[in-house]
Symmetry: C2
Subunit: 240 residues, 2 copies
């Protein structure tokens, strides 16, 4: 999510290969060179694919003298998105050409956001085909994975002037709606609030399922919604 | 939706065969024998299938001396649900055996609710296979079609003691979330609020897209949600 004050990322940690095979994996990866660049990558889809993409990008970023292209050397966020998209497409193509098949396919979708010194923060949604779109004023946030349950509250309550604290509440409520509806999404939730122009990775954390504040939000939200409904005008019922 | 005061039904009217071929059809059918029974059927899925099902059930209900079984003669809501389920399965089976194929399939899902004199109101969700499940205290409402966007608000704000006026607001807000997200769902919205034990079909109507009250609800809901978010406690951000 893009705000005037920066970028806010949140991801769940549940992966599954069927209802009876669920695990917890972090789906948010942050690369940082303080004062120079901060990049965040979140993933949805086939875990083997997304882990391979992150590992490849990570290897290349750690040994820039040996391996190019490197995310840490990309001259712009656009170039970084191209690099991530190419890597994603290569990984998926490699698996398909190997003749492997999986019931659920090897596809994955990524969100890349961050800032490189000298430019504004940017946010991209990267498709399995390797192409991508960028967030702007009209579409200031992206969702990947199980997006539908949590979308209406984002559409309604998003405001570019949200503080990090309010944005966190909004994202937690959005995730909570999805957690309650779909077993493939599960806590803990990882977050990262990036302060515009800070060029450092702080405000990184994890909200556990038993986090007291999260539980309070979850329980109070139902009541808050009911009260919100009460404030709306009645609709005249046809009495025919 | 089952309430202590009765049953509330709402359906949209948009059907589509692709983004460039959309039409308006009523998806709610009501059969009534005042003082004896009221049955409501709502449909989602292939329009040809659901119209065939409704036409077959309707023909049989109009000429009960010639055609059996008839919905108007079913001794119980359970038997009525069996009858609807059988008809649905037959129609789908007939289309498949005819060798026809459609990109989107011939499947349809139905909601049947109503009351027959001497019994309580009952509400069923009928699958394309012809089998069905019944709403109860734990699951007091059903959705069919594009269910995800509108579900969280229903889960949170449903209360069996809702008045019809409040239930209508809840359903309009739920539909509005879906209308804003998916072009395959569109106004006008048909509704029917059935008073328990009334055994007559009143409070039937249609909310047009330009209905002033609906537009007010739609615009005020965003603000109401933002205020509801503000009432929630902040989550402490990690300052590492």
């Amino acid at each position: 999510m893009m705000l005037r004050g920066g970028l806010v990322f949140m991801s769940d940690t549940r992966t599954n290969a069927g209802l009876d095979n669920i695990s917890t994996f972090k789906k948010m990866k942050i690369w940082e060179e303080p004062g120079e660049r901060v990049l965040t990558l979140m993933s949805a889809g086939n875990l083997a694919t997304t882990q391979a993409v992150v590992s490849l990008l990570d290897e290349r970023s750690k040994l820039p003298e040996d391996r190019t292209p490197s995310l840490m050397k990309a001259p712009s966020m656009f170039q970084a998105a191209c690099m991530v998209g190419d890597t994603l497409r290569e990984v998926i193509k490699g698996l398909r050409e190997g003749g492997q098949r999986a019931d659920s396919g090897f596809d994955a979708t990524l969100i890349l956001g961050g800032q490189i010194a000298g430019s504004a923060p940017r946010l991209f949604l990267i498709y399995p085909e390797g192409n991508f779109i960028e967030a702007g004023e009209d579409t200031p946030f992206f969702q990947i994975g199980e997006i539908k349950y949590g979308r209406p509250i984002l559409v309604r309550a998003y405001d570019p002037d949200l503080t990090f604290a309010s944005a966190m509440k909004l994202l937690l409520v959005s995730f909570d709606s999805t957690l309650k509806a779909n077993l493939s999404v599960g806590a803990p939730l990882d977050y990262f609030c990036y302060d515009v122009d800070s060029l450092k990775a702080e405000h990184i954390g994890r909200v556990e399922a038993d986090n007291q504040q999260f539980q309070t939000i979850s329980t109070q939200w139902g009541n808050a919604l009911k009260q919100a409904l009460d404030t709306l005008p009645d609709v005249a019922l046809n009495t025919d």
